[in-house]
């Protein structure tokens, strides 16, 4: 996508960034709609997962992994701003691998939650919200991986790193959504 070549010189915010914002807006409406559906269904029949320490252990570990991963992604942007190619590569790689660990943790959680998708309406809500979030994490991993490939090709410099920035923003977004889902599904 050669968006930069058609951007009006006077435009202050980059075209890619506006496109990402609008995409994240429409994604947010999607997650909010799912959460509203969850709230509406919960209103009709009260269900929740047991709030025991062991029950919350895996999701808590997963939350930590994703949070550390987000910090790694953030340090990738700091590295590229200083033209630190090794730092950029390592940060992207770490963020990406932790993302994959998170997805593996989610798969483990799916198998040990004691729920299935046809377990009343709650099973459906749980797997839909978690499943779509996991798909977004995988999309973020692909985004980071593409940036890693371009880093290896030497595409990014301290003045030219928009794709890194956008990928990291997407990663922050995925992390933020996770916190909302964690609170909604495990803590309420």
């Amino acid at each position: 996508m050669t968006s930069s070549s058609v951007t009006h010189p006077a435009a202050r915010v980059s075209t890619g960034r506006i496109a990402l914002w609008i995409t994240l807006t429409t994604e947010s409406v999607f997650f909010v709609t799912l959460l509203v559906a969850y709230a509406a269904l919960r209103d009709e029949a009260d269900w929740s997962l047991p709030h025991t320490f062991t029950r919350l252990l895996i999701p808590a570990v997963n939350t930590t992994i994703l949070l550390v991963s987000a910090f790694m992604a953030g340090s990738a942007v700091r590295a590229v701003r200083h033209n630190d190619q090794t730092g950029l590569r390592n940060s992207l790689l770490r963020a990406l691998l932790l993302g994959l660990v998170f997805v593996a943790g989610q798969v483990f959680e799916f198998n040990h939650a004691g729920l299935s998708i046809d377990d009343q309406a709650f099973g459906g809500v749980f797997f839909t919200l978690m499943g779509f979030h996991a798909v977004h994490v995988l999309a973020g991993v692909v985004f980071l991986a593409l940036n890693l490939m371009r880093t290896n090709l030497g595409d990014f410099t301290s003045t030219h790193y928009e794709a890194v920035d956008l990928g990291v923003w997407f990663w922050y977004y995925v992390t933020l959504v996770w916190f909302v889902l964690f609170a909604a599904l495990y803590l309420l």
Binding site: T15, T26, V29, I117, G123, G124
Partner: protein, 549 residues
């Protein structure tokens, strides 16, 4: 720089003709034409489905179509006209015109633009392939749960519907993001938001509506898919689900969708009427603000589709009052169009006739909507033919007339040829009369209690005569469309006149050659008023002098 050079050389090597050049194209004008042609073919298919229904209903106890076939035909008619015809026709005009109107060389993301077109085409063909694979969807275009659950709709029709709508929603979302970014980023120097041509404004607001409302539909149909395929219970009341949840999710999309369908047509009409009245648009700011107001209010009225579901009184009152409120900005627009024509030097050519037809018919449809917003009235006539009359006055009398106005108006720009004016007038008058013959009696039938979506009815209820008249009207509409198709082929086979500005237009698209070159503008224009071409033609009377004074 290198990217630009590459894209120019690619255009040259592919040439400007041949099938491959259309498949590979990332040019907004060609993608726009692809959208328009594909959507018009779906329009003919959807129209044939309407004719089948009208033949079936022409007389009581008719056996032309069986009940199940009739269900499939009305479901596909509605789904086709909304998702495969009006939305992509608007997207076609948007693709073709937005860059030209704002003085840009292409959309912000040309490849994404091609992606959204091909996704749309695939989604449409995919949905229609259901006829071959065990039966088309048959639960109506709004597919209420729990009828759509596997238990009650065991064929694969609904699965095709869900997957098809997912693809079409994806195409629209990608396209909308592209429009928003293009309009924010690529406007020519001087073209502030207050100088944006009205069609660009309506495309802008429509795109935001799509971005904010489509996720709700996506959620609704994904949950349905999980119910049907993986045994989840979202809409299954017996297992803690909620059938009403579908209606809320669907109409939270469905009502903004109504404005997604009508706003682009309003934009077209707001471009056509000033040119054929030889006057600037009356009340530009009023139209822009009412478009934005409609955009916001459109998200707050969804439950007026659900008055009959037993809502609390306070909700009924809110959604009823709110639905009256949304009539206000629409009324403002009607007066602005009339004000534009008032004391103008009117030229009643085909684009103008369709634009005036739009105003008249949309007004009737809008007033029907106000009737339906009155809760006790709605309880009487909901799910009757009165509702069918209402949606067709706004979507056929409104959106389709507006789109034909745009087709006659911009056809010379797209092809270099003006459509035959005499045939255009025949098209307009036969379609106008046919349209009223079909849909006006539906008001009577609705008040007489004829429910929508029934495949036949018994004699002796006083419904025969009106149904018969409606069927005649449907064939008149078909005749008018046939005249348009003949006109299209007669015109396209003639040598082009290549007149850059056949209507004495006001806006930037008429400054380019007809059809415009690949790059649109050799030099990016600079804009000082809402009618840049008028300013060029009449430097002494230029709008910017008045606007700055």
């Amino acid at each position: 720089m290198t990217a630009q050079a590459q894209s120019i050389s690619r255009k040259q090597t592919l040439g400007s003709s041949g099938l491959l050049s259309w498949i590979m194209t990332v040019d907004h004008k060609r993608i726009g034409i692809l959208y328009l042609v594909s959507a018009f073919i779906f329009f003919i298919i959807g129209g044939l489905e309407a004719l089948l229904m009208r033949i079936q209903l022409a007389k009581p106890d008719n056996t032309f179509l069986g009940a199940d076939t009739y269900n499939q035909v009305f479901t596909m008619h509605g789904t086709t006209m909304i998702f495969l015809v009006v939305m992509p026709l608007a997207a076609g005009f948007g693709n073709y015109l937005v860059p030209l109107l704002i003085g840009a060389r292409d959309m912000a993301f040309p490849k994404l633009n091609a992606l959204s077109y091909w996704t749309y085409l695939f989604g449409g063909i995919f949905m229609y392939s259901s006829f071959v694979y065990g039966g088309a969807p048959n639960d109506g275009w709004f597919s209420y749960a729990p009828l759509t659950e596997k238990m009650y709709s065991p064929t694969h029709g609904m699965d095709f519907w869900v997957m098809g709508i997912l693809l079409l929603g994806l195409a629209t979302t990608i396209g909308s993001i592209n429009f928003i970014v293009t309009i924010i980023q690529l406007r020519a120097p001087g073209m502030s938001l207050t100088k944006l041509p009205l069609f660009v404004w309506t495309t802008f607001v429509t795109s935001f509506l799509a971005v904010f409302s489509l996720p709700s539909l996506t959620t609704a149909i994904l949950l349905l898919l999980l119910d049907r395929q993986l045994g989840a219970h979202f809409y299954n009341t017996a297992q803690g689900g909620s059938a009403l949840l579908w209606q809320h999710l669907f109409w939270f999309f469905g009502h903004p969708e109504v404005y997604i369908l009508i706003l682009p047509a309003m934009g077209i009409v707001s471009m056509v009427i000033p040119v054929f009245s030889s006057k600037p648009l009356f009340g530009y700011a009023a139209i822009v603000f009412s478009t934005i107001a409609i955009g916001f209010l459109g998200f707050t009225v969804w439950a007026h589709h659900m008055f009959a579901t037993g809502m609390p009184t306070v909700s009924l009152l809110f959604f009823s009052a709110d639905s009256f409120l949304i009539g206000v900005p629409t009324g403002v627009k009607i007066f602005a169009w009339l004000g534009t024509m008032w004391r103008g030097k009117l030229r009643f050519m085909s684009p103008m006739l369709f634009a005036i037809g739009f105003v008249a018919l949309f007004l009737i449809g809008g007033l029907d909507g106000i009737h339906l917003a009155v809760v006790p009235v709605d309880w009487q006539i909901t799910d009757s033919y009165y509702v069918v009359a209402h949606i067709h006055y706004v979507l056929f009398g409104g959106a389709i007339f507006g789109i034909f106005s745009g087709i006659y108006f911009w056809f010379p720009k797209m092809t270099g040829r003006i459509l035959n004016e005499a045939l255009g007038k025949w098209h307009f008058w036969i379609m106008f009369i046919g349209m009223n013959l079909v849909f006006m009696p539906m008001h009577v039938l609705g008040l007489e209690g004829m429910p929508r979506r029934i495949y036949t009815y018994g004699p002796g209820r006083g419904w025969e005569i009106w149904n018969y008249v409606e069927t005649i009207g449907a064939f008149l509409i078909a005749t008018s469309i046939l005249i348009f198709i003949v006109n299209f082929f007669i015109t396209i086979l003639k040598a082009p006149q290549n007149d850059p500005d056949p209507w004495d237009g006001f806006t930037l698209e008429w400054t380019t050659s007809s059809p415009p070159p690949d790059y649109n503008f050799a030099e990016i224009p600079s804009v000082r008023s809402r009618r840049p071409l008028w300013d060029n033609k009449h430097p002494d009377l230029a709008d910017w002098k008045k606007e700055e004074a």
